[in-house]
Amino acid sequence: MLLSVVLLAAGSTIIAGLGLLALPWVLLALRRWTDWHRRLAGGLLATTIPTRYQPLSGSAGQRLRQMLTDRTTWRDLAWSLIQMLIGLPLAALALVVAVGPPLTVVSMLFWWVPDEPVHLLTGVPLDNWPSAIGFGLLNLALMVALGLVAVPPLARGHAHLTRALLARPAAQQLAERVETLTQTRADAIDAHGAELARIERDLHDGTQARLVAIAMRLGIAKQELAGEPGLLARLIDEAHDSAETAMHELRTIIRTMYPPVLADLGLAGAVHALAAQSPVPTHLDLGRLGTLPAAVEAAAYYAISEALTNVAKHSDAGTATVSIRQAGGWLRTSITDDGRGGADESGGSGITGIRQRIAALDGTVQVISPPDGPTSITVSLPCGS
Protein backbone atom coordinates (compact mmCIF):
# COMPACT_ATOMS: atom_id res chain seq x y z
CA MET A 1 0.00 0.00 0.00
CA LEU A 2 2.74 2.39 1.09
CA LEU A 3 4.80 1.29 -1.88
CA SER A 4 2.05 2.12 -4.30
CA VAL A 5 1.63 5.62 -2.76
CA VAL A 6 5.37 6.24 -3.07
CA LEU A 7 5.36 4.97 -6.64
CA LEU A 8 2.38 7.15 -7.47
CA ALA A 9 4.06 10.20 -5.97
CA ALA A 10 7.31 9.47 -7.82
CA GLY A 11 5.40 8.87 -11.04
CA SER A 12 3.47 12.11 -10.86
CA THR A 13 6.68 14.01 -10.02
CA ILE A 14 8.33 12.52 -13.09
CA ILE A 15 5.36 13.39 -15.26
CA ALA A 16 5.26 16.94 -13.86
CA GLY A 17 9.01 17.19 -14.42
CA LEU A 18 8.65 15.94 -17.97
CA GLY A 19 5.89 18.47 -18.46
CA LEU A 20 8.22 21.20 -17.29
CA LEU A 21 10.96 19.94 -19.60
CA ALA A 22 8.51 19.98 -22.49
CA LEU A 23 7.47 23.57 -21.72
CA PRO A 24 9.81 25.23 -24.27
CA TRP A 25 8.50 23.01 -27.07
CA VAL A 26 4.92 23.56 -25.97
CA LEU A 27 5.45 27.31 -26.06
CA LEU A 28 7.09 27.14 -29.46
CA ALA A 29 4.20 24.97 -30.73
CA LEU A 30 1.77 27.53 -29.28
CA ARG A 31 3.53 30.24 -31.29
CA ARG A 32 3.22 28.26 -34.50
CA TRP A 33 -0.42 27.46 -33.73
CA THR A 34 -1.35 31.09 -33.02
CA ASP A 35 0.67 32.28 -36.02
CA TRP A 36 -1.35 29.91 -38.21
CA HIS A 37 -4.56 31.37 -36.78
CA ARG A 38 -3.25 34.90 -37.34
CA ARG A 39 -2.70 34.00 -40.98
CA LEU A 40 -6.16 32.37 -41.28
CA ALA A 41 -7.98 35.24 -39.63
CA GLY A 42 -5.87 37.74 -41.54
CA GLY A 43 -6.73 36.01 -44.82
CA LEU A 44 -10.43 36.11 -44.01
CA LEU A 45 -10.33 39.80 -43.06
CA ALA A 46 -8.06 40.62 -46.02
CA THR A 47 -5.48 42.13 -43.69
CA THR A 48 -2.36 41.08 -41.85
CA ILE A 49 -2.42 40.61 -38.13
CA PRO A 50 0.88 41.97 -36.92
CA THR A 51 2.70 40.60 -33.97
CA ARG A 52 6.29 40.42 -32.91
CA TYR A 53 7.71 38.09 -30.32
CA GLN A 54 10.76 39.23 -28.42
CA PRO A 55 13.75 37.77 -30.25
CA LEU A 56 15.11 34.62 -28.59
CA SER A 57 18.77 34.24 -27.88
CA GLY A 58 21.17 32.58 -25.48
CA SER A 59 20.93 29.29 -23.63
CA ALA A 60 17.79 27.14 -23.42
CA GLY A 61 17.05 28.57 -19.97
CA GLN A 62 17.40 32.15 -21.20
CA ARG A 63 15.17 31.39 -24.16
CA LEU A 64 12.52 29.93 -21.86
CA ARG A 65 12.67 33.01 -19.64
CA GLN A 66 12.42 35.29 -22.68
CA MET A 67 9.34 33.39 -23.83
CA LEU A 68 7.73 33.47 -20.37
CA THR A 69 8.34 37.20 -19.93
CA ASP A 70 7.06 38.02 -23.41
CA ARG A 71 3.61 39.54 -23.06
CA THR A 72 2.63 38.09 -26.42
CA THR A 73 3.05 34.57 -24.98
CA TRP A 74 0.43 35.30 -22.33
CA ARG A 75 -1.94 36.82 -24.85
CA ASP A 76 -1.53 33.62 -26.91
CA LEU A 77 -2.42 31.54 -23.85
CA ALA A 78 -5.50 33.65 -23.12
CA TRP A 79 -6.57 33.28 -26.73
CA SER A 80 -6.20 29.46 -26.51
CA LEU A 81 -8.56 29.34 -23.52
CA ILE A 82 -11.18 31.43 -25.28
CA GLN A 83 -10.64 29.40 -28.42
CA MET A 84 -11.61 26.27 -26.44
CA LEU A 85 -14.88 27.86 -25.28
CA ILE A 86 -15.90 29.55 -28.53
CA GLY A 87 -13.90 27.82 -31.20
CA LEU A 88 -15.17 24.31 -30.42
CA PRO A 89 -18.94 25.02 -30.81
CA LEU A 90 -18.21 27.04 -33.93
CA ALA A 91 -16.14 24.21 -35.34
CA ALA A 92 -19.02 21.77 -34.56
CA LEU A 93 -21.46 23.99 -36.43
CA ALA A 94 -19.06 24.20 -39.38
CA LEU A 95 -18.78 20.43 -39.36
CA VAL A 96 -22.57 20.06 -39.46
CA VAL A 97 -22.81 22.45 -42.40
CA ALA A 98 -20.03 20.67 -44.23
CA VAL A 99 -21.04 17.04 -43.58
CA GLY A 100 -24.85 17.52 -43.34
CA PRO A 101 -25.76 17.86 -47.07
CA PRO A 102 -24.11 14.62 -48.27
CA LEU A 103 -25.60 12.76 -45.25
CA THR A 104 -29.04 14.12 -46.16
CA VAL A 105 -28.71 12.93 -49.73
CA VAL A 106 -27.69 9.46 -48.52
CA SER A 107 -30.67 9.39 -46.10
CA MET A 108 -33.05 10.47 -48.89
CA LEU A 109 -31.94 7.71 -51.23
CA PHE A 110 -31.44 4.90 -48.73
CA TRP A 111 -34.31 5.61 -46.18
CA TRP A 112 -35.50 2.03 -46.61
CA VAL A 113 -32.25 0.34 -45.52
CA PRO A 114 -32.30 0.72 -41.67
CA ASP A 115 -35.01 -1.00 -39.58
CA GLU A 116 -35.81 2.16 -37.64
CA PRO A 117 -36.94 5.14 -39.79
CA VAL A 118 -34.38 8.00 -40.15
CA HIS A 119 -35.16 11.40 -38.55
CA LEU A 120 -33.77 14.56 -40.10
CA LEU A 121 -33.69 18.14 -38.65
CA THR A 122 -37.48 18.49 -39.00
CA GLY A 123 -38.00 15.43 -36.76
CA VAL A 124 -40.42 13.74 -39.19
CA PRO A 125 -39.57 10.06 -39.83
CA LEU A 126 -38.69 9.15 -43.42
CA ASP A 127 -40.79 6.01 -44.04
CA ASN A 128 -41.85 6.38 -47.67
CA TRP A 129 -40.51 7.91 -50.90
CA PRO A 130 -42.65 11.11 -50.82
CA SER A 131 -41.63 11.99 -47.26
CA ALA A 132 -38.01 11.02 -47.97
CA ILE A 133 -37.80 13.23 -51.08
CA GLY A 134 -39.87 16.11 -49.64
CA PHE A 135 -38.31 16.38 -46.20
CA GLY A 136 -34.90 15.45 -47.64
CA LEU A 137 -34.97 18.43 -50.00
CA LEU A 138 -36.28 20.70 -47.21
CA ASN A 139 -33.45 19.48 -44.99
CA LEU A 140 -30.92 20.12 -47.76
CA ALA A 141 -32.29 23.65 -48.27
CA LEU A 142 -32.02 24.38 -44.50
CA MET A 143 -28.41 23.14 -44.41
CA VAL A 144 -27.33 25.22 -47.41
CA ALA A 145 -29.14 28.27 -46.03
CA LEU A 146 -27.39 27.79 -42.70
CA GLY A 147 -24.05 27.48 -44.48
CA LEU A 148 -24.62 30.58 -46.59
CA VAL A 149 -26.27 32.85 -44.02
CA ALA A 150 -24.90 31.94 -40.60
CA VAL A 151 -21.40 30.61 -41.15
CA PRO A 152 -19.68 33.58 -42.91
CA PRO A 153 -20.62 36.20 -40.27
CA LEU A 154 -19.75 33.76 -37.49
CA ALA A 155 -16.38 33.07 -39.13
CA ARG A 156 -15.74 36.77 -39.50
CA GLY A 157 -16.75 37.36 -35.90
CA HIS A 158 -14.33 34.70 -34.83
CA ALA A 159 -11.62 36.22 -36.98
CA HIS A 160 -12.23 39.63 -35.40
CA LEU A 161 -11.99 38.06 -31.97
CA THR A 162 -8.72 36.38 -32.97
CA ARG A 163 -7.37 39.65 -34.28
CA ALA A 164 -8.37 41.50 -31.14
CA LEU A 165 -6.62 38.96 -28.96
CA LEU A 166 -3.60 38.03 -31.04
CA ALA A 167 -2.60 41.35 -32.59
CA ARG A 168 -0.44 43.72 -30.60
CA PRO A 169 -2.44 46.49 -28.96
CA ALA A 170 -2.08 49.84 -30.78
CA ALA A 171 -0.28 51.41 -27.81
CA GLN A 172 2.24 48.60 -27.77
CA GLN A 173 2.71 48.82 -31.53
CA LEU A 174 3.35 52.52 -31.13
CA ALA A 175 5.74 51.96 -28.25
CA GLU A 176 7.66 49.40 -30.29
CA ARG A 177 7.77 51.77 -33.24
CA VAL A 178 9.15 54.53 -31.01
CA GLU A 179 11.70 52.09 -29.64
CA THR A 180 12.76 51.10 -33.16
CA LEU A 181 12.98 54.72 -34.27
CA THR A 182 14.96 55.68 -31.18
CA GLN A 183 17.40 52.89 -31.90
CA THR A 184 17.78 53.70 -35.60
CA ARG A 185 18.18 57.36 -34.74
CA ALA A 186 20.90 56.54 -32.21
CA ASP A 187 22.59 54.41 -34.86
CA ALA A 188 22.32 57.26 -37.36
CA ILE A 189 23.83 59.70 -34.85
CA ASP A 190 26.61 57.24 -34.13
CA ALA A 191 27.35 56.86 -37.82
CA HIS A 192 27.14 60.62 -38.33
CA GLY A 193 29.58 61.21 -35.48
CA ALA A 194 32.03 58.62 -36.76
CA GLU A 195 31.76 60.31 -40.15
CA LEU A 196 32.53 63.73 -38.64
CA ALA A 197 35.62 62.37 -36.92
CA ARG A 198 36.71 60.68 -40.16
CA ILE A 199 36.21 63.85 -42.20
CA GLU A 200 38.20 65.85 -39.64
CA ARG A 201 41.00 63.31 -39.88
CA ASP A 202 40.93 63.26 -43.69
CA LEU A 203 40.99 67.05 -43.91
CA HIS A 204 43.85 67.19 -41.42
CA ASP A 205 45.99 64.57 -43.14
CA GLY A 206 44.99 65.51 -46.67
CA THR A 207 43.67 68.93 -47.55
CA GLN A 208 45.20 70.90 -44.68
CA ALA A 209 48.60 69.26 -45.10
CA ARG A 210 48.52 69.91 -48.84
CA LEU A 211 47.65 73.56 -48.31
CA VAL A 212 50.53 73.92 -45.87
CA ALA A 213 52.85 72.26 -48.39
CA ILE A 214 51.63 74.65 -51.11
CA ALA A 215 52.06 77.69 -48.87
CA MET A 216 55.53 76.47 -47.94
CA ARG A 217 56.62 76.17 -51.57
CA LEU A 218 55.05 79.48 -52.49
CA GLY A 219 56.90 81.00 -49.54
CA ILE A 220 60.19 79.65 -50.85
CA ALA A 221 59.36 80.90 -54.37
CA LYS A 222 58.55 84.31 -52.91
CA GLN A 223 61.96 84.38 -51.28
CA GLU A 224 63.64 83.47 -54.56
CA LEU A 225 61.88 86.36 -56.28
CA ALA A 226 62.42 88.77 -53.39
CA GLY A 227 62.73 92.34 -54.57
CA GLU A 228 61.93 91.48 -58.20
CA PRO A 229 59.04 93.50 -59.57
CA GLY A 230 56.78 92.00 -62.19
CA LEU A 231 53.76 89.85 -62.85
CA LEU A 232 55.30 86.58 -61.63
CA ALA A 233 56.17 87.98 -58.21
CA ARG A 234 52.71 89.50 -57.88
CA LEU A 235 50.96 86.25 -58.86
CA ILE A 236 52.99 84.23 -56.39
CA ASP A 237 52.28 86.82 -53.72
CA GLU A 238 48.54 86.57 -54.39
CA ALA A 239 48.63 82.79 -54.50
CA HIS A 240 50.44 82.77 -51.16
CA ASP A 241 47.83 85.04 -49.60
CA SER A 242 45.03 82.84 -50.98
CA ALA A 243 46.65 79.73 -49.55
CA GLU A 244 46.87 81.40 -46.13
CA THR A 245 43.23 82.49 -46.29
CA ALA A 246 42.18 78.98 -47.32
CA MET A 247 44.10 77.46 -44.39
CA HIS A 248 42.47 79.89 -42.00
CA GLU A 249 38.97 79.24 -43.37
CA LEU A 250 39.44 75.50 -43.35
CA ARG A 251 40.63 75.62 -39.74
CA THR A 252 37.52 77.59 -38.76
CA ILE A 253 35.23 75.15 -40.57
CA ILE A 254 36.84 72.13 -38.93
CA ARG A 255 36.63 73.74 -35.51
CA THR A 256 32.86 74.31 -35.85
CA MET A 257 32.24 70.89 -37.37
CA TYR A 258 34.31 68.71 -35.09
CA PRO A 259 36.90 70.45 -32.91
CA PRO A 260 40.27 68.67 -33.33
CA VAL A 261 40.90 69.01 -29.60
CA LEU A 262 37.94 66.61 -29.08
CA ALA A 263 39.57 64.04 -31.34
CA ASP A 264 42.85 64.45 -29.49
CA LEU A 265 41.76 64.69 -25.87
CA GLY A 266 38.17 63.40 -25.68
CA LEU A 267 35.29 65.39 -24.15
CA ALA A 268 36.77 65.61 -20.64
CA GLY A 269 40.18 66.75 -21.91
CA ALA A 270 38.64 69.21 -24.36
CA VAL A 271 36.46 70.72 -21.62
CA HIS A 272 39.56 71.08 -19.43
CA ALA A 273 41.13 72.99 -22.31
CA LEU A 274 38.03 75.21 -22.57
CA ALA A 275 38.09 75.91 -18.85
CA ALA A 276 41.81 76.71 -19.01
CA GLN A 277 41.30 79.38 -21.64
CA SER A 278 38.13 80.85 -20.20
CA PRO A 279 38.85 84.31 -18.79
CA VAL A 280 36.33 83.66 -16.01
CA PRO A 281 37.71 81.14 -13.50
CA THR A 282 35.88 77.94 -14.30
CA HIS A 283 35.39 75.02 -11.96
CA LEU A 284 34.85 71.58 -13.50
CA ASP A 285 32.69 68.83 -12.05
CA LEU A 286 32.94 65.89 -14.43
CA GLY A 287 31.28 62.57 -13.66
CA ARG A 288 32.45 59.31 -15.12
CA LEU A 289 32.01 59.55 -18.88
CA GLY A 290 31.68 56.38 -20.93
CA THR A 291 32.02 56.11 -24.68
CA LEU A 292 29.90 58.80 -26.32
CA PRO A 293 28.83 59.22 -29.94
CA ALA A 294 31.16 61.76 -31.56
CA ALA A 295 28.21 63.95 -32.59
CA VAL A 296 27.00 64.11 -28.97
CA GLU A 297 30.49 65.02 -27.77
CA ALA A 298 30.77 67.72 -30.42
CA ALA A 299 27.35 69.17 -29.53
CA ALA A 300 28.08 69.17 -25.78
CA TYR A 301 31.48 70.78 -26.42
CA TYR A 302 29.87 73.40 -28.63
CA ALA A 303 27.25 74.22 -25.97
CA ILE A 304 29.87 74.53 -23.21
CA SER A 305 32.12 76.65 -25.39
CA GLU A 306 29.28 79.01 -26.35
CA ALA A 307 27.97 79.21 -22.78
CA LEU A 308 31.42 80.04 -21.38
CA THR A 309 31.84 82.72 -24.04
CA ASN A 310 28.52 84.18 -22.90
CA VAL A 311 29.62 84.09 -19.29
CA ALA A 312 32.79 86.01 -20.18
CA LYS A 313 31.00 88.50 -22.42
CA HIS A 314 27.75 89.27 -20.64
CA SER A 315 27.50 87.92 -17.12
CA ASP A 316 30.08 89.89 -15.13
CA ALA A 317 30.51 86.65 -13.22
CA GLY A 318 33.38 85.94 -10.84
CA THR A 319 33.31 82.18 -11.36
CA ALA A 320 31.59 79.60 -13.52
CA THR A 321 30.96 75.89 -13.00
CA VAL A 322 30.66 73.26 -15.72
CA SER A 323 29.18 69.96 -14.64
CA ILE A 324 28.83 66.90 -16.87
CA ARG A 325 26.99 63.73 -15.91
CA GLN A 326 26.20 60.62 -17.93
CA ALA A 327 23.36 58.48 -16.61
CA GLY A 328 20.34 56.55 -17.86
CA GLY A 329 21.13 57.09 -21.53
CA TRP A 330 21.45 60.87 -21.16
CA LEU A 331 24.40 63.22 -21.08
CA ARG A 332 23.53 66.19 -18.88
CA THR A 333 25.72 69.25 -19.00
CA SER A 334 25.12 72.38 -17.00
CA ILE A 335 26.99 75.65 -17.08
CA THR A 336 26.30 77.89 -14.10
CA ASP A 337 27.75 81.27 -13.25
CA ASP A 338 27.43 83.71 -10.34
CA GLY A 339 26.82 86.66 -12.63
CA ARG A 340 24.01 89.09 -13.10
CA GLY A 341 21.51 86.89 -14.97
CA GLY A 342 18.73 88.15 -17.22
CA ALA A 343 20.16 86.38 -20.25
CA ASP A 344 18.51 87.64 -23.42
CA GLU A 345 17.95 84.82 -25.88
CA SER A 346 17.05 87.15 -28.73
CA GLY A 347 20.12 89.34 -28.51
CA GLY A 348 22.50 87.11 -30.42
CA SER A 349 23.59 85.53 -27.18
CA GLY A 350 24.47 82.23 -28.78
CA ILE A 351 21.70 80.42 -26.92
CA THR A 352 19.72 80.16 -30.17
CA GLY A 353 22.69 78.43 -31.75
CA ILE A 354 22.96 76.04 -28.82
CA ARG A 355 19.23 75.25 -29.03
CA GLN A 356 19.41 74.47 -32.75
CA ARG A 357 22.44 72.27 -32.42
CA ILE A 358 21.04 70.35 -29.44
CA ALA A 359 17.55 69.96 -30.96
CA ALA A 360 19.11 68.31 -34.01
CA LEU A 361 20.17 65.46 -31.73
CA ASP A 362 16.79 65.23 -29.95
CA GLY A 363 18.20 66.96 -26.89
CA THR A 364 16.79 69.75 -24.73
CA VAL A 365 18.14 73.06 -23.47
CA GLN A 366 16.92 74.72 -20.30
CA VAL A 367 17.95 78.29 -19.53
CA ILE A 368 17.31 79.69 -16.07
CA SER A 369 18.36 83.30 -15.77
CA PRO A 370 16.38 85.49 -13.36
CA PRO A 371 16.98 89.25 -13.66
CA ASP A 372 19.34 89.39 -10.70
CA GLY A 373 21.15 86.16 -11.57
CA PRO A 374 22.66 83.71 -11.53
CA THR A 375 22.37 82.06 -14.95
CA SER A 376 22.26 78.32 -15.44
CA ILE A 377 22.08 76.51 -18.79
CA THR A 378 21.33 72.81 -18.74
CA VAL A 379 21.76 70.76 -21.89
CA SER A 380 20.46 67.18 -22.03
CA LEU A 381 21.47 64.93 -24.89
CA PRO A 382 20.38 61.33 -25.46
CA CYS A 383 23.53 59.28 -25.80
CA GLY A 384 22.43 55.69 -26.28
CA SER A 385 23.63 54.04 -23.10
Binding site: A209, M216, H248, L265, G269, A273
Partner: protein
Protein backbone atom coordinates in the same frame (compact mmCIF):
# COMPACT_ATOMS: atom_id res chain seq x y z
CA UNK B 1 72.51 74.47 -37.44
CA UNK B 2 71.66 70.79 -37.08
CA UNK B 3 67.98 69.93 -37.02
CA UNK B 4 65.91 66.83 -36.27
CA UNK B 5 62.36 66.82 -37.66
CA UNK B 6 59.46 64.63 -36.46
CA UNK B 7 56.83 64.81 -39.21
CA UNK B 8 54.96 61.81 -40.59
CA UNK B 9 53.45 63.61 -43.59
CA UNK B 10 55.87 63.16 -46.49
CA UNK B 11 54.77 66.33 -48.31
CA UNK B 12 55.41 68.48 -45.26
CA UNK B 13 58.64 66.73 -44.31
CA UNK B 14 60.00 67.28 -47.83
CA UNK B 15 58.88 70.90 -47.83
CA UNK B 16 60.58 71.55 -44.49
CA UNK B 17 63.75 69.85 -45.68
CA UNK B 18 63.84 72.03 -48.81
CA UNK B 19 63.13 75.19 -46.86
CA UNK B 20 65.77 74.51 -44.19
CA UNK B 21 68.60 73.34 -46.47
CA UNK B 22 68.00 76.38 -48.68
CA UNK B 23 68.56 78.51 -45.57
CA UNK B 24 71.87 76.78 -45.00
CA UNK B 25 70.72 74.52 -42.19
CA UNK B 26 71.48 70.84 -41.89
CA UNK B 27 68.59 68.36 -41.47
CA UNK B 28 70.27 65.54 -39.55
CA UNK B 29 67.21 63.28 -39.52
CA UNK B 30 63.53 63.25 -40.40
CA UNK B 31 61.55 60.72 -38.35
CA UNK B 32 57.89 59.74 -38.39
CA UNK B 33 57.05 58.94 -34.76
CA UNK B 34 57.76 59.87 -31.17
CA UNK B 35 60.02 56.98 -30.19
CA UNK B 36 62.21 57.47 -33.25
CA UNK B 37 62.34 61.17 -32.42
CA UNK B 38 63.69 60.57 -28.88
CA UNK B 39 66.27 58.15 -30.32
CA UNK B 40 67.28 60.53 -33.13
CA UNK B 41 67.73 63.41 -30.67
CA UNK B 42 70.04 61.23 -28.54
CA UNK B 43 72.03 60.18 -31.61
CA UNK B 44 72.36 63.46 -33.55
CA UNK B 45 72.52 66.05 -30.71
CA UNK B 46 70.61 68.63 -32.81
CA UNK B 47 70.75 72.39 -32.18
CA UNK B 48 67.00 72.61 -32.63
CA UNK B 49 64.10 70.23 -33.32
CA UNK B 50 60.79 70.57 -35.16
CA UNK B 51 57.92 68.34 -34.00
CA UNK B 52 54.42 67.83 -35.44
CA UNK B 53 51.76 67.44 -32.74
CA UNK B 54 49.91 64.57 -34.41
CA UNK B 55 52.18 61.59 -34.92
CA UNK B 56 51.61 57.84 -35.18
CA UNK B 57 50.37 55.60 -33.73
CA UNK B 58 47.32 57.43 -32.34
CA UNK B 59 47.68 60.71 -34.27
CA UNK B 60 46.53 62.70 -31.24
CA UNK B 61 49.14 64.60 -29.24
CA UNK B 62 52.10 62.22 -29.54
CA UNK B 63 54.27 65.14 -30.68
CA UNK B 64 53.81 67.02 -27.39
CA UNK B 65 54.57 63.83 -25.45
CA UNK B 66 57.65 63.14 -27.58
CA UNK B 67 58.91 66.71 -27.13
CA UNK B 68 58.45 66.51 -23.34
CA UNK B 69 60.09 63.06 -23.26
CA UNK B 70 63.12 64.29 -25.22
CA UNK B 71 63.40 67.28 -22.89
CA UNK B 72 63.44 65.02 -19.84
CA UNK B 73 66.73 63.61 -21.16
CA UNK B 74 68.01 67.00 -22.25
CA UNK B 75 66.05 69.80 -20.51
CA UNK B 76 67.50 72.59 -22.66
CA UNK B 77 66.72 70.83 -25.98
CA UNK B 78 65.19 73.49 -28.25
CA UNK B 79 61.80 72.29 -29.54
CA UNK B 80 59.54 74.02 -32.03
CA UNK B 81 56.15 72.32 -32.06
CA UNK B 82 53.99 72.68 -35.17
CA UNK B 83 50.28 72.01 -35.26
CA UNK B 84 47.30 72.35 -37.56
CA UNK B 85 45.43 74.04 -34.69
CA UNK B 86 46.62 75.61 -31.46
CA UNK B 87 45.32 74.95 -27.97
CA UNK B 88 46.35 76.77 -24.86
CA UNK B 89 46.59 73.52 -22.87
CA UNK B 90 49.40 72.30 -25.11
CA UNK B 91 51.21 75.64 -24.87
CA UNK B 92 50.91 75.44 -21.08
CA UNK B 93 52.31 71.90 -21.04
CA UNK B 94 55.27 72.93 -23.19
CA UNK B 95 55.99 75.99 -21.09
CA UNK B 96 55.54 74.19 -17.78
CA UNK B 97 59.17 73.10 -17.57
CA UNK B 98 60.23 76.73 -17.43
CA UNK B 99 63.51 76.28 -19.34
CA UNK B 100 62.71 78.24 -22.48
CA UNK B 101 63.90 77.08 -25.90
CA UNK B 102 60.29 76.33 -26.74
CA UNK B 103 58.13 77.30 -29.65
CA UNK B 104 54.52 76.52 -30.51
CA UNK B 105 53.28 77.59 -33.93
CA UNK B 106 50.51 76.90 -36.38
CA UNK B 107 51.76 75.05 -39.44
CA UNK B 108 50.41 77.95 -41.51
CA UNK B 109 53.33 80.06 -40.29
CA UNK B 110 55.86 77.90 -42.13
CA UNK B 111 54.75 79.55 -45.39
CA UNK B 112 56.13 82.86 -44.16
CA UNK B 113 59.63 81.60 -44.59
CA UNK B 114 61.60 84.48 -43.05
CA UNK B 115 59.35 84.70 -39.99
CA UNK B 116 59.47 80.95 -39.56
CA UNK B 117 63.26 80.79 -39.79
CA UNK B 118 63.47 83.70 -37.36
CA UNK B 119 61.24 81.84 -34.91
CA UNK B 120 63.36 78.71 -35.31
CA UNK B 121 66.56 80.67 -34.60
CA UNK B 122 64.99 82.29 -31.54
CA UNK B 123 63.99 78.90 -30.15
CA UNK B 124 67.50 77.54 -30.87
CA UNK B 125 68.95 80.52 -29.02
CA UNK B 126 66.91 79.73 -25.89
CA UNK B 127 63.95 82.01 -26.59
CA UNK B 128 60.23 81.32 -26.43
CA UNK B 129 57.91 81.63 -29.41
CA UNK B 130 54.15 81.54 -29.09
CA UNK B 131 51.73 81.56 -31.99
CA UNK B 132 49.70 84.79 -32.24
CA UNK B 133 46.56 82.61 -32.08
CA UNK B 134 47.50 81.33 -28.63
CA UNK B 135 47.93 84.90 -27.49
CA UNK B 136 44.66 85.85 -29.18
CA UNK B 137 42.88 83.04 -27.29
CA UNK B 138 44.28 84.48 -24.08
CA UNK B 139 43.25 88.02 -24.94
CA UNK B 140 39.73 87.09 -26.09
CA UNK B 141 36.52 87.98 -24.24
CA UNK B 142 38.07 89.88 -21.38
CA UNK B 143 36.03 92.20 -19.24
CA UNK B 144 36.71 94.14 -16.08
CA UNK B 145 40.33 93.45 -16.58
CA UNK B 146 43.35 95.72 -16.19
CA UNK B 147 44.06 94.86 -19.83
CA UNK B 148 41.11 97.13 -20.70
CA UNK B 149 43.16 100.02 -19.40
CA UNK B 150 45.92 99.42 -21.96
CA UNK B 151 46.06 101.64 -25.00
CA UNK B 152 45.75 99.89 -28.40
CA UNK B 153 49.49 100.27 -28.95
CA UNK B 154 50.22 98.81 -25.51
CA UNK B 155 47.95 95.86 -26.30
CA UNK B 156 49.91 95.23 -29.49
CA UNK B 157 53.15 95.34 -27.53
CA UNK B 158 51.71 92.95 -24.95
CA UNK B 159 50.67 90.52 -27.69
CA UNK B 160 54.13 90.56 -29.28
CA UNK B 161 55.79 90.12 -25.88
CA UNK B 162 53.62 87.08 -25.26
CA UNK B 163 54.66 85.65 -28.63
CA UNK B 164 58.28 85.84 -27.48
CA UNK B 165 59.62 88.88 -29.29
CA UNK B 166 62.25 91.03 -27.62
CA UNK B 167 62.09 94.81 -27.66
CA UNK B 168 64.26 95.17 -30.77
CA UNK B 169 62.01 92.82 -32.72
CA UNK B 170 58.89 94.56 -31.45
CA UNK B 171 60.28 97.88 -32.59
CA UNK B 172 60.96 96.43 -36.02
CA UNK B 173 57.55 94.78 -36.31
CA UNK B 174 55.65 97.92 -35.26
CA UNK B 175 57.87 100.31 -37.22
CA UNK B 176 58.70 102.37 -34.13
CA UNK B 177 61.95 103.17 -32.38
CA UNK B 178 63.15 100.90 -29.62
CA UNK B 179 62.97 103.61 -26.97
CA UNK B 180 59.22 103.90 -27.57
CA UNK B 181 58.92 100.14 -27.17
CA UNK B 182 60.77 100.36 -23.87
CA UNK B 183 58.30 103.00 -22.73
CA UNK B 184 55.27 100.92 -23.81
CA UNK B 185 56.67 97.83 -22.12
CA UNK B 186 57.20 99.79 -18.95
CA UNK B 187 53.60 101.05 -19.08
CA UNK B 188 52.23 97.54 -19.68
CA UNK B 189 54.15 96.11 -16.75
CA UNK B 190 53.08 98.96 -14.51
CA UNK B 191 49.39 98.72 -15.46
CA UNK B 192 49.31 94.94 -15.05
CA UNK B 193 51.28 95.05 -11.83
CA UNK B 194 54.10 92.83 -13.13
CA UNK B 195 57.66 93.29 -11.99
CA UNK B 196 59.55 95.18 -14.68
CA UNK B 197 61.77 92.98 -16.79
CA UNK B 198 62.84 94.26 -20.17
CA UNK B 199 65.21 91.44 -21.04
CA UNK B 200 62.85 90.07 -23.68
CA UNK B 201 63.78 86.54 -22.56
CA UNK B 202 61.81 83.48 -21.60
CA UNK B 203 61.05 84.74 -18.11
CA UNK B 204 59.26 87.75 -19.56
CA UNK B 205 57.14 85.57 -21.84
CA UNK B 206 56.27 83.27 -18.97
CA UNK B 207 55.33 86.21 -16.80
CA UNK B 208 53.10 87.69 -19.49
CA UNK B 209 51.47 84.35 -20.39
CA UNK B 210 50.98 83.47 -16.74
CA UNK B 211 49.42 86.86 -16.25
CA UNK B 212 47.08 86.41 -19.20
CA UNK B 213 46.20 82.91 -18.09
CA UNK B 214 45.66 83.58 -14.41
CA UNK B 215 45.47 87.22 -13.48
CA UNK B 216 41.79 87.74 -14.27
CA UNK B 217 40.93 84.83 -11.99
CA UNK B 218 42.15 86.60 -8.90
CA UNK B 219 40.41 89.84 -9.82
CA UNK B 220 36.91 89.94 -8.34
Amino acid sequence: MRIVIAEDNVLLAEGLQLLLTRAGMEVAATVADGDEFVAAVARHRPDVTIVDVRLPPTYRHEGIRAALAARRDRPDLPVLVLSQYVELVYATQLLAGGQGSVGYLLKDRVGRVEEFLDALRRVAAGGTVMDPEVVAQLLAHRHNDPIDTLSPREREVLGLMAQGHDNTAIARLLFIVESSVNKHVGNVFAKLGLSADDSGGHRRVLAVLAYLNNQSRTVP
